[in-house]
Amino acid sequence: MPKDGGIGASSKRREDVRFLTGAGNYTDDINVNGQTYAWFVRSDVAHGTINSIDTSAAEAMDGVLKVFTAADFESAGGIPCGWQVTDRHGEPMQEPKHPILAEGKVRHVGDPIACVVAETLEQARDAAEAVEIDIDELEPVLDMKAALEDGAPKVHDELTSNLCYDWGFVEENKEAVDEAIKSAAHVVTLELTNNRLVANPMEPRVAVADYSRARDEYTLYTTSQNPHVIRLLMGAFVLSIPEHKLRVVAPDVGGGFGSKIYHYAEEAFVTHASKVVNRPVKWTSTRSEAFISDAHGRDHKTKIELALDENHMFTALRTDTYANMGAYLSTFAPSIPTWLHGTLMAGNYKTPVIYVNVKAVFTNTTPVDAYRGAGRPEATYQLERVIDKAARELGVDPAELRRKNFIKPEEFPYDTPVAVTYDTGNYHATLDKALEMTDYAGFEKRAEESKARGKLRGYGLAHFIEACGIAPSNLVGQLGARAGLYESATVRVNATGGITVMTGSHSHGQGHETSFAQVVADMIGIDEGMIEIEHGDTANTPMGMGTYGSRSIAVGGSAMVRATEKIINKAKKIAAHLMEASESDIELKDGQFSVAGTDKSVAWGDVTLAAYVPHNYPLEEIEPGLEETAFYDPSNFTYPSGAYVCEVEVDPETGKVEVLGFTAADDFGNVINPMIVEGQVHGGVAQGIGQAMLENCVYDENGQLLSASYMDYTMPRADDMPMFDVDHSCQTPCTHNPLGVKGCGEAGAIGSPPAVVNAVIDALHRGGYTNVEHIDMPVTPARVWAAMNS
């Protein structure tokens, strides 16, 4: 039976009431008295030398306070990169400067060159038209392999080449992998592209800065997934503002999916400009601007080789990937193709030796960074596609081939050859569940029915594993992270028993205000309504690392558990005093403290009141008050896994693919709020199906982004999606965090792209198109039709 409240209950989301009534407080809803408006002049060419910028006409226009160029930021640092990767030869990656406004050169369409600050938005926009910029256009480099050829135009003149790094992992395995592939009974090879995507949260980015000359303090309201990190990066590395003079607020945020993790130039711009013009400055991105200035996701070109022995056991895996960085290094960009991709190449399988090579390349395109899943979707896609191809080449059942090579439930904890230790898992259980839910046995009959209607039906299976809650800090530090990856929580109990929890995690659609409250309520045994969750404001939350990589409940929730445990321990001491009992005899259940073996008890509220109104209180032994903070640094990643199945019908006349059904059987460990978890899977799957079938960044030969609006970039709409069947009953709790949770936010986007493409290829083979081994995403009707008719 579902619980009514606490951990495991599908409590309805409390945040919904404000969102459903128009009472949310998103960044663009914030207006500050005396506010001015910023409008950026962005490069309309992909690569060029700036000869001159004439701002005089614009500055003379009505309402214009100032037109900023790079010259106004000479004292500022560049936008910093948060991750240093060391290449195969022990050399640090090439790390070019990323200026706030372009210095001397533009490097992608959308690169900001100047910015007008004016009294009204319309005046700023009008004046931006009058900024005269003389640019000598240079030949752009767009293709990653061409960018590495001798004589290719350089994105950054000061670098030796367009290669950011050439990374090998695990370098010591390289020869063993080469040897295993050479001597294998079967080697299956696949070349594929992981298409470049735009995250497209429905709320565009916004930044509003308010500098107070009287207090010499800055407040920045911004659409961010991690306000503390923005404060740290911008304050310490860009603008040299002491953190205690800089408050960063990320209020209600309308989705992020990774694209709002990073520190962007616009945030630093408005913060600095607000001081210069001595007025608040607001910038609101248009959607068209978002397409060329928000960090993009994915964009890998890969060759993967899987070696198998005569019994179809995997013996080695080798993958060579080119990863596009775009024109500059976004905050976490170097870590995505390396540590978040290479470490997941084992998947759910016992492959003895693995070698991963990644060449990260600068091109004249918008910078790329993490997008829902970040590295894990790229790893999973390659692996699950090549396994499907192997099953086809060997003439074996794709489910059986996977099952045969799975790490077995009794083999956990399991050390992979790519440096991570999976704590728990039961891949056989999720696979069995998915096959049962989708009536795998009955598929042939359904395929026959489709055939009778002139359609080709395909069954696509993919399994996935991901590493959530990136950790621990000392390990990621060794791997190049320039930050720790802990999380924090302060639990402040009020005198009458209500609780405010302040967390370093940030909620932008995940429902933390509900699920976090469930955890604390469950631990103390009080009503969820007695708990309030505060997040997103550096002024009233402890330093935290924000929300991404499905870390909030595993890392942020664990910090909250630790802080609540401290609260309970102290409250027990107070209860012991109030009941004149030994502290070791105090039990807490359903919000009542009782003395074991007696009928003596005091309620939660009596204890909290005593803590703050200490008339009868052992002040010599216990401080007044009931407020505790905990910082939790995880000892390992968590490893959710699952089996995903997509069933499609392909129209052989047109190449159109219709998704008939999509099923996800996940293992997320313990689940706090099943309704919220299922919702997260739905959203992830829709983004994965979107990647597989619809979404794509298309640049022309001049570096213009052709898919730069919702008119051209195909966002999944209601009619494109089926109802999803999701299940999370296969649970192997995480062994190293106090909640036993694993993380669910990215799973859908990781497991679904290979399931869709595997289904399409299966359909074509069943229809006799046996020469089609692969179709790159998105599998549009044009691509499918072309593959069938090639």
Partner: protein, 160 residues
Amino acid sequence: MKVTMTVNGQTRTGEAEGRTLLSTFLRETLGLTGTHVGCDTSQCGACVVHVNGKDVKSCTMFAAECDGADVATIEGQCAPDGTLNKIQQAFQDYHGLQCGFCTPGMVMSAAALLRDNPTPSEAEIREYLEGNICRCTGYHNIVRAIMAASGQEVPAVAAE
């Protein structure tokens, strides 16, 4: 110019330029920030309001065009005491929203759909929502919420 319209039953007047969009007028001049702007090509539907009983994208109309019009926004959908209407309540009950940014437009589109077609099929709901993009929910729970609000049986999912 001065523009006067009835918004959620109240007469409201404000200054607008000829180029001022209805969405800007509602948000900036009248302070009704529940209507959201998610794109600049009238594709996303976050800004859907009702003008004289028709659901429109408020980023596609000029405020001046609505002089004298009757406008309904998300702020006027719940009862005066804050009670959610049946569509809003169904969205909460069926988890039809996550970040909440597209939600006002979704609720206003759903209201228009149910007024014209009180018991739409799943396919009709999906087709009607063609002009509204949601990036969070995968639409599954939005469709279920609208079916529930229409009093129909909600499609079951395997997890239940």
